[in-house]
């Protein structure tokens, strides 16, 4: 008797630990006034497809019901929440603050922190497109990791328009830009240098490559501003400056960096994005950002910002923590 690949049982002691993590998260979600929702574990693929994007759609478990309708096991929760808001909650006054802790499924090669069945928990703030909303989302994520006992977690921020604005100054076609962004995102500096060769003057190219190797704060944003060629990119830089300012007011200044390589592989992000991580684990602890075009794809004209984490990854990080010397205090 064997389990399906990428699934697991939870014995009583294990489940107690998992439930404790979920309880801490629920407490944080309630403190920030987010109401919990659930959607079906499976739903019609055609009602999610509009939001998922190709990368996630490819990892989605699909099957046909007896009538031949294509059914998807929910691969993540942001799209189902967008679907829910744009149908049953159309009349609700904005902003909407919704939270969830639900199982999700992705067809992955099982590895540390990546199972085919996992528990996704997160927040979505629907309505305002303001700096306040972005800051609320980011700070609630920081507080969630703090409450979980991961107070040394560090957060990297980006805005998806910045790298587009920087690459817009080069002689690259659409495919070249996509290719260069892929290399930036993997921080594959050697191949990036080769790809950009001949697309601009050498000093500019070297500055762009440096940008992809650098994490920083205001100084990095200044360098990016000098290289940025689009209004959207400059607006993105302004938004990041605003977020760093708000974070400083709240005492989070030394928890944040800007990293322009942070291009999360989910296609619906349109604005600021972030990830939280800690030294002991080789994967992000949480991540999120702004996705203003997702709800309109479901016919509901509203912006949104949100983040999520995988509960199992938090358990691994906490376990790893106990086995090691505490890392550098913040």
């Amino acid at each position: 008797v064997r389990l399906a690949s990428g699934t697991r049982d939870w014995l009583p002691a294990e489940l107690r630990r998992k439930r404790a993590v979920e309880a801490v998260l629920r407490g944080v979600f309630e403190r920030w006034n987010y109401d919990e929702v659930q959607t079906p574990n499976f739903e019609r693929f055609d009602s999610l497809e509009a939001g998922l994007g190709e990368a996630v759609a490819q990892k989605t478990f699909l099957f046909a019901d007896k009538s031949g309708t294509q059914i998807a096991l929910r691969p993540e929760m942001t799209t189902p929440v967008a679907r829910l808001v744009s149908t049953r909650m159309r009349e609700a006054p904005l902003p909407l603050r919704l939270s969830y802790i639900v199982p999700a499924y992705q067809y992955e090669d099982p590895q540390e922190g990546r199972m085919r069945e996992f528990t996704t928990a997160g927040l979505e703030l629907i309505g305002p497109e303001s700096l306040d909303a972005d800051a609320e989302s980011l700070f609630s994520a920081i507080e969630a990791l703090d409450a979980l006992g991961l107070a040394d977690a560090h957060f990297d921020l980006n805005h998806v328009a910045v790298i587009d604005g920087v690459l817009a100054g080069l002689k690259l076609d659409a495919r070249g830009i996509a290719n260069a962004k892929h290399l930036v995102s993997g921080r594959n500096i050697v191949a990036l240098r080769a790809r950009l060769a001949g697309t601009g003057d050498p000093a500019t190219l070297e500055a762009i490559v440096r940008l992809a190797m650098t994490r920083g704060t205001g100084d990095l944003l200044e360098q990016a501003a000098r290289l940025c060629h689009t209004d959207a990119g400059n607006a993105g830089i302004e938004r990041l400056r605003g977020l760093l300012g708000r974070a400083a007011e709240r005492g989070f200044a030394n928890r944040l960096s800007v990293d322009l390589t942070l291009l999360r592989d989910i296609e619906y992000y349109t604005g600021f994005t972030f990830e939280g991580f800690a030294g002991q684990v080789g994967f992000a602890l949480c991540g999120g950002g702004r996705y203003d075009t997702l709800l309109p794809r479901f016919g509901f004209p509203a912006g949104a910002v949100g983040w999520s984490l995988t509960v199992e990854r938090i358990l691994i990080a906490l376990e790893r923590r106990r086995g090691t010397v505490p890392s550098v205090p913040g």
Partner: protein, 213 residues
């Protein structure tokens, strides 16, 4: 940082070892020239250096047992995992080539067999190369002495690394096509790069200076 970087660096034993050690020394990390049978050494500046089989370097970096490492690009082509290539260290140059027996005259344009048998240690790279050309092939994975393949009729072609070309010449094999060229790379774990940004960036700067010197 006061006493040393506190970094764990993975380096390959074998062909790239001496140059890797020379580069680390130029960056102030005193790795012994002859480590004997040790698998890890802690240098006077506090850096932990792991001495690994070349093919194992990507895994140690990917899973964070090492923060960063030195490894040939040829090894990275075959590794499935995710590491960031931050710098080309420019030593250990070699080429990955398709080679065949001189008498088969494939290098002069003689028609290839209907169905190619290809012996190689570089399965992933070879598969991509032939798939890109829509050529049906049977890949035969070998672990050493690939040049023997065509001589005894195991394979029509080989895909193998060439540094000087001596091995090919000794066996009367010739290059049919060049797939890629390889040099040593400085690689990092993407999350460790963020967590130990200052230390890794400092080491990278010193390695870069050594390359340019």
């Amino acid at each position: 940082m006061s006493a040393g970087s506190g970094l764990t660096v993975a380096i390959p034993k074998g062909a790239l070892y001496d140059e890797s050690v020379a580069h680390l020394r130029a960056a102030g990390i005193e790795v012994p020239g002859d480590p004997g049978r040790r698998l890890e050494v802690t240098t006077p500046d506090g850096t932990r250096v792991l001495l690994l089989r070349p093919a194992d370097v990507p895994a140690y970096v990917e899973f964070g047992a090492a923060d960063c490492g030195i490894v040939g690009a040829d090894v990275l082509w075959e590794a499935a995992g995710v590491v960031c290539e931050l710098a080309d260290l420019a030593f250990g140059a070699c080429r990955l080539v398709v080679a065949a027996r001189r008498v088969d005259r494939y290098h002069e344009g003689a028609p290839l067999p209907t169905f190619l048998r290809v012996a190689t240690k570089f399965e992933r790279t070879a598969e991509t190369y032939f798939a890109d050309r829509d050529l049906p092939v049977q890949l035969i994975k070998l672990h050493g002495s690939v040049e023997l393949g065509p001589l005894v009729g195991l394979a029509d072609l080989i895909v193998d690394l060439v540094a000087t070309g001596n091995t090919l010449r000794e066996h009367d094999l010739v290059v049919v096509d060049e797939i890629a060229s390889s040099t040593a790379r400085f690689v990092v774990n993407p999350v460790r790069f963020r967590a130990k940004y200052d230390d890794i960036t400092a080491l990278l700067r010193k390695l870069d200076a050594a390359v340019r010197a």
